[in-house]
Amino acid sequence: MYKIVKAEKLADIIYLMDVHAPRVASHCEPGQFVIVKMDDKGERVPLTICDYDREAGTITIVFQAMGASTTRMAELKEGDSFRDFVGPLGCPSEFVHEDIEELKKKKMLFVAGGVGAAPVYPQVKWLHEHGIEADVIVGSKTKDLLILEKELESVSGNLYITTDDGSYGRSGMVTTVIEDLVKNEGKHYDVCVAIGPMIMMKFVCLLTKKLELPTIVSMNPIMVDGTGMCGACRLQVGDEVKFACVDGPEFDGHLVDFDQAMTRSRMYKTEEGRKALKLQEGDTHHGGCGVCGGDN
């Protein structure tokens, strides 16, 4: 069992937890993820490692309550435990193994959408600790859903916040901000790292391709084992099929087939939606309507 030493609600349906998992904490690096399973009947849910404390042996996760498992997970409190917590999985971000002096010559731009701020944070923090200041754009639907602003501020070079509805920071999508920075504000970047919903990553990549800005994305397909055993996480990257859990989760965004990836991640939409609905409505939902979906 893996004890939750801190549980906090960051925003509507977004939760942060620190979990005691010393084996994971002693070996993880930015870009990697864990798989958690809350109890006997829970799903194996992949979540990016948002922060780690090697001494305390804890891992920070941030998740959005989207479906059956994450909604049940949201009810866990400090002192409760996860039944399973495995990791670190996947490959660390490429820069972790690059020469620091070479890295310092590069200007990096991070683009986070929604909960994507969570996986972006450890990367920017790692760079900051190694003397590299990266610029960060965080996009959120609205002010109330913005997370980790303070944390990001303390480790980023320039932090640009934008909300879809203009309720805070700049107004509009992250792509608008990238375009503004590069085209109108004379910024130059050598690498972009975009993490967020697939649709956001797709549009960021379409733009950065035009801007000739190499872009790395962190893919979050449906997974089962996370060790290369099932192929559920496979993606088309250029002319190769890759398993995101072992070959990724980070890939060259200009090579990823996002449309296929998005179709694949909708695989369980209706079925899971029904389960989520059953959970919300208890016995009052008898199913069979076939259209309720229930997964907003």
Partner: protein, 462 residues
């Protein structure tokens, strides 16, 4: 007394009933039936069956005890050579091992050695008969990677010798393929697998789940930082292969591993578990091995019409005869000498069919089996909503790529000596599917035993 040329029939669930449930198909012998069947054994002096058994169980010896009704004694005879009789009695390909060589088989049916082994194993589980533990402890720490049959056997043997053993398992359950691959209706998880593993726990073996060696910790770190003096790698061959044909990434195309893992390990067939499985209404399973049969029979139980699509003929089907027979009885449709060319995808990205081509058998290839060749202009389409690829698996490169000095061959298998499991790296031993590529439970178990012996010799001479 019944016809001595015939086996005492074993009770099975009716095909029509079992096609709709996940309960075990074969119900096994009771004591009376087992003792009856045992009397058919001639107790040959030069027993050919023993030579057919990869771990050389003294078959006539254990059957003699069954004949007398001394089941506990029979269990002791088996457990000298095998750690998992309840498992092996269910899943071993006896028809091509011990039973194939049985003298009785010349004129009539061979002695039903597998069903007798299963009876003895289950008796020991029910009556809580334990293997003997170590007389004295040895002060050496050994790590075993993987809790499949190879790892479990190696750990059990080492514990009996007195070693301090820890098993590291990547998944959240113990058992390897026995829990994630082979379905409940062939091998019950609680009643059999968990109990067999429970016995190994009682020998004092420690288990750590959720540890991916190569990610959570490396082999070199286990040795240098955690004080393990020898390592056994039994990490299996879990990496699924795909065909590389168009449409393979469509929704509704699974590896057999994914389909079976969702159903077996994550219990997707039971709606009280969170993990979903889009089971399909009309399913094509591509391949003809045990794994394909398991995937097909699982899909059938989840309510689908199921077709096995295999490029050779019935004779070449690599699956066990019993499994093919059961699959047919349950209503699986066999499309033999047929090979997929393309998976057809609808406008939503989901599978709507498969374009296949007819095959014929040509000259024998390297494996000695006649090579299938396409018949020109014989392509046609079949309508399916789900395709399960069961084309075989290979070892996961994760461990080899993170361990200094561990050599692998072209097929990504770890290179190890057969008699003692020694790899190219000092203090590191390996066995099972990780070394041979996908094989059988009993071979993995045999390799686990050899590895335990190798480690014992290595540590005794240290």
């Amino acid at each position: 007394m019944a016809d001595v040329l015939k086996q005492v029939p074993v009770r099975e669930q009716d095909p029509e009933v079992r096609a709709k449930n996940f309960e075990e198909v074969c119900l096994g012998y009771n004591q009376e039936e087992a003792m009856d069947e045992a009397t058919r054994c001639l107790e040959c002096k030069n027993a050919k069956c023993i030579a057919g058994c990869p771990v050389a169980i003294n078959i006539p010896d254990f059957i003699r005890e069954v004949k007398k009704g001394n089941i506990e004694e029979a269990y002791k005879v088996i457990s000298r050579s095998s750690a998992l009789p309840s498992v092996c009695g269910r899943v071993c390909p006896q028809e091509s091992q011990c039973e194939e060589r049985c003298i009785r088989g010349i004129k009539g049916e061979p002695v039903s050695i597998g069903k007798l082994e299963r009876f003895v194993g289950d008796y020991a589980l029910e009556h809580d008969i334990k293997p003997e533990g170590a007389k004295e402890k040895k002060n050496h720490k050994v790590a075993v990677i993987g809790s499949g049959p190879a790892g479990i056997t190696c750990a059990g043997d080492l514990a009996k010798m007195g070693y301090d053993v820890t098993v590291f398992e990547a998944l959240h359950e113990l058992g390897g393929v026995l829990v994630y691959g082979i379905p409940e209706f062939r091998l019950p998880k609680h009643k059999v697998v968990a109990k067999e593993i429970g016995k190994v726990k009682e020998l004092g073996v420690k288990f750590e789940t959720n540890v991916v060696i190569g990610k959570s910790v490396t082999i070199d770190q286990l040795i240098e930082e955690e004080g393990f003096e020898a390592i056994f790698i039994g990490s299996g061959a879990g990496l699924p292969m795909f065909m590389g044909i168009p449409g393979e990434n469509a929704n509704g195309v699974f590896s057999a591993n994914e389909y079976l893992t969702r159903s077996n390990l994550m219990k997707a067939f039971d709606s009280s578990y969170d993990t979903p499985l889009a089971a399909g209404k009309k399913v094509a399973v591509v391949g003809g091995g045990n794994v394909a049969m398991d995937a097909a029979r699982t899909a059938l139980r989840l309510g689908a019409e199921v077709h096995i699509v295999y490029r050779r003929s019935e004779e070449e089907l690599p699956a066990r005869v019993e499994e093919v027979h059961h699959a047919k009885e349950e209503g699986i449709i066999f499309n033999l000498l047929t090979n997929p060319k393309e998976i057809l995808v609808d406008e939503n990205g989901s599978v709507k069919g498969m374009r296949v081509v007819k095959m014929e058998l040509g000259e024998p290839d390297a494996s000695g089996r006649r090579r299938p060749i396409e018949i020109p202009d014989s392509e046609y389409e079949i309508e399916v909503d789900t395709v399960i690829m069961s084309l075989g698996t290979s070892p996961n490169p994760l461990i080899a790529s993170t361990t200094k000095g561990l050599d692998i061959n072209r097929r990504k298998c770890i290179i190890a000596e057969e008699e003692n499991g020694q790899t190219s790296k000092a203090a590191v031993f390996a066995g099972g599917d990780a070394v041979t590529g996908a094989a059988t439970v009993i071979l993995a178990m045999g390799a686990g035993k050899a590895g335990a012996k190798g480690i014992d010799e290595y540590l005794s001479n240290k």
